[in-house]
Subunit: 595 residues, 2 copies
Amino acid sequence: MEGFDILNLFIVLLAAWGGGALIKRIGYPAILGELLIGVIIGPPLLGFVESSSTLVILAEAGVILLMAYIGMEINFKDLGKASWAGLLAAVGGFVVPFALGYYVVTLSGGTSMAGLFVGIAVGVTSLATKSRILVDLNLLDTRIAYVLMAGALISDTLALIIFAGLSSFIDAGAVNMSEILLIIGKIILFFGFSTAFGLYILPRIGQWMAKKNIENRTTYFTLLLLIVFGLSELAELVGLHGILGAFIAGVFIKDGVFKDQITKDITHVFHDVSVGFMAPIFFVTAGFHVTLDVFQTDLGLLLAIVGVAFAGKILGTVIFYLPSRNGWREGLAVGTGMNGRGAVEIVIAGIGLQKGIISQEIFSILVFMAIITTLSVPVLLTWSTNWLKKRGELVKQFSREGYLILGANPLALLLGKHLSEHNKVVFIDANKGICENAKHKGFNCVHGNILDEATLKEASAKDFRTFLALTVNNEINLLASQLVNDTFYIPEKYIVISPITEIGGSINLLQSVSASTLFSGKVDLQPWIQKTQDLNYKEVEVTSDKKIATREWVKTQFSKNKTVLPLVIVDISGVKRPFRFNDSIEEDEKVIYIV
Amino acid sequence: MEGFDILNLFIVLLAAWGGGALIKRIGYPAILGELLIGVIIGPPLLGFVESSSTLVILAEAGVILLMAYIGMEINFKDLGKASWAGLLAAVGGFVVPFALGYYVVTLSGGTSMAGLFVGIAVGVTSLATKSRILVDLNLLDTRIAYVLMAGALISDTLALIIFAGLSSFIDAGAVNMSEILLIIGKIILFFGFSTAFGLYILPRIGQWMAKKNIENRTTYFTLLLLIVFGLSELAELVGLHGILGAFIAGVFIKDGVFKDQITKDITHVFHDVSVGFMAPIFFVTAGFHVTLDVFQTDLGLLLAIVGVAFAGKILGTVIFYLPSRNGWREGLAVGTGMNGRGAVEIVIAGIGLQKGIISQEIFSILVFMAIITTLSVPVLLTWSTNWLKKRGELVKQFSREGYLILGANPLALLLGKHLSEHNKVVFIDANKGICENAKHKGFNCVHGNILDEATLKEASAKDFRTFLALTVNNEINLLASQLVNDTFYIPEKYIVISPITEIGGSINLLQSVSASTLFSGKVDLQPWIQKTQDLNYKEVEVTSDKKIATREWVKTQFSKNKTVLPLVIVDISGVKRPFRFNDSIEEDEKVIYIV
């Protein structure tokens, strides 16, 4: 038994952190930097550090925790929504490269087991790669983004299940029918047990703990570790790989099992421990096992596998995407976006190497394939979506959409009228009369206390993209935006802050829930509500002749000594969005304000 | 290199969890259960599991993270406050058993190195052991509790420093003067560098990250891991043990370096990962290395060391405590309370065993000593504090004291008048006139928005024990108690909840900041404020003839159809506390209410 090697660990952690941070600066996922730095400082290039028991064991523990975390982040409800298009992309983007990868390996003399492993590795889609790139390309609200995320999820799940089946047969080395049936039986037993556990036993444990008022987060963390390692071991016992058990455990740890806040906290801790500590050790040491010789000895196979990865993924997606009727060009964009490989691929390749199914050369090729395909994503995705944009075929789609507005006062209704032209708008008000009035004017209004989760559930807060708080009470506005942020994850929150008292603390709270202020830095709503109530106002529409920050726009009005309340900005296609303080008005966009 | 052993890990985690949970049920710290379950399922008894690379490496990583966490929890400001008495208890409680332990070992034929190791192990005081027992014995607000905590902290720090010096000499095997000077030089260099790093470089890194608006918690976690492992390795390089570097790294990670919320979050994660995951592996496997033979072969030495541990710790504390003028009986209580040994002792004993300085027999004796002394704490501490109580010598002392009251309305002033008889009372009100009025009546009042941290800082919120929120606005009350909880860590928060609207969400928030409601479940304050304003009320004092829950008391009044507002409960010594809904009224205590 080797002892604990702090120096080795420190160097690898430092390298992982440096490599990850550098690569993230240029918009790539950390894993890419971790793999590259592993190749550089490890045996392949500089030989500065080598593997050790410490690294191996922390890395393996890290992979299990990472798979659990990936499972936790998968939301089957989201998958359901993406349905058709996402499923098509996922299946096409998996099956075609899988088949091509298999044939490339077997035709070049590899075993069929190696072929299957390479096929899975080539078929996998990286999920982590996506989100940052989508933000950078400003694609988050497009249909492509949604299909991409759903597609990657389905593809990963698919890959893991196929991998599970595959690995169990490898271990058993089964050839005759009775052995195969036994393996299938064991797999069914495992999935049956873990599903029963996840759907029936786990929620009961959660209820019992809630009833016992167990609030200690560490207790939940330890419990979930036990579940993750337990299902992981169970998977191993039936001949599946441990990562699958961990993944399934993660999938079942969802809202509803424990209190939302606890689930959120624990997910964070799993993220910190895996992504922030142990998993990078795995990816850096994966770089250690690469051999650079493949560029000379196996250049043909390298090019073939990378080529198959590109062509298979992109063409497969384009072809299978056709029945979605979203157009082959969108399919192409989805394909280029799904072309990255990431954590799951490296984990699977690592297992293949460890079990001796693939050679060090093939492992190296798969690592380089991951690096090259991931590098291609921003380039190709930028190109393909720009093409769509130019043709006007970049379809917007929100998974969450519309405005949930707190306060149904006359001013809020006026704003709501504008926004409802293109978007769903729902009001919440604690005053029954005011709510009735809103309904009378044709709006949807939920009557109830905003601080009561039940009210927000009744208003289906989880489906909204934007929350607007327009009461005259800063504290209610703040508390409400905190609640919709923490419990309903509404991504955009714009709230009115009245200049009634000093608001130092409020601004901190505002930042902590990443909300921003509506209309202006501070606005005294009361007079405007009165004006709209009395119909004593005038709506003015001005077109901006240059790009200008909303902040500047407001300042300009002040300098003209005009007291105006900017309501909405109208973009060139006529869609209105609320006027908020940290936005900017593009050239030719209009501002509608009231005086 | 051995591979990763999920089954082994799972069994140990499960055992640790079970052992810890069971022992906690009867009021003992988890570590005791973890040690015992290790002895039971490991080689000493059942031989059900053995150690493995996986366990060794996760355990060692766990010890480093645990020491960092222990360092994080040490607040030198708190130490400063405890000053004289705590220092006396710590020094006496360390030096005397240290010396006795050393002589027992050397006189019975052990090496002087082994003697020094045993001395440290016997001298150490367990910190983790304390808090739960203090709560159970309802001692949290006594001077003893404060001296105990400070004493344990100082004792641990002392032990670690002596251990550091000791271990560096052991490794070097130094005999001549120049070698000794070299070692001392290196140690000074290490402490110089780590202090400079902690005091100058780390805060600058914090400022830089704050300026860059880095809010990602995982980034901070990774950074702190690097610092912990980095200083740990540096300590090893100069010949000290790694745990010392980790401890020092933890000490420097304090409020002010990073944003309070980030420090709090990261401390939580370190706690979860060490106490909830890896450190229990260390304690269970420590049990593995115990041999039960010592009860036969070395019973004399076992009894001698345990005897020395008891006598040395308790007598040493009593004697050294005399100059504090707090009385020898209080010294005895402090001594019995400091008699537990815990994590630090087992860690040091484990290092001694690993380096071959102490034999497996002595290691076993030290483990049993930890178990026996820890078992004694609740028993002896209950006895000694009851004795003090009976003699009326149990002195109360708060590190935080007094009431910070939000809202200076007439009712709040009336309540404040009662509470100020024995306690510091400070009001906060956003209305300048109301605040002036309070000052006019002789109260201390800070004018400002409660949601502004600056206001709370001005009121020195960090020094208060209890926060009362008495505005008529539920949301402000809730938001304020959240702020004082999260940022100023005020332990007790009682707030008024008005029955204005449904309060489902509010109750959740109430629980999440562990606040409870004042006066009753819900109270409409407005009429009571009006009554006190108009001096149109009558104060009534009733003595309770039996123990009754406040909840029941309120119900009784309702059933009598009386509309009263219970203000304070007066205990038998005349001290008043606010009437809250989850308290209970002892026999002979009085309730003052208004009608």
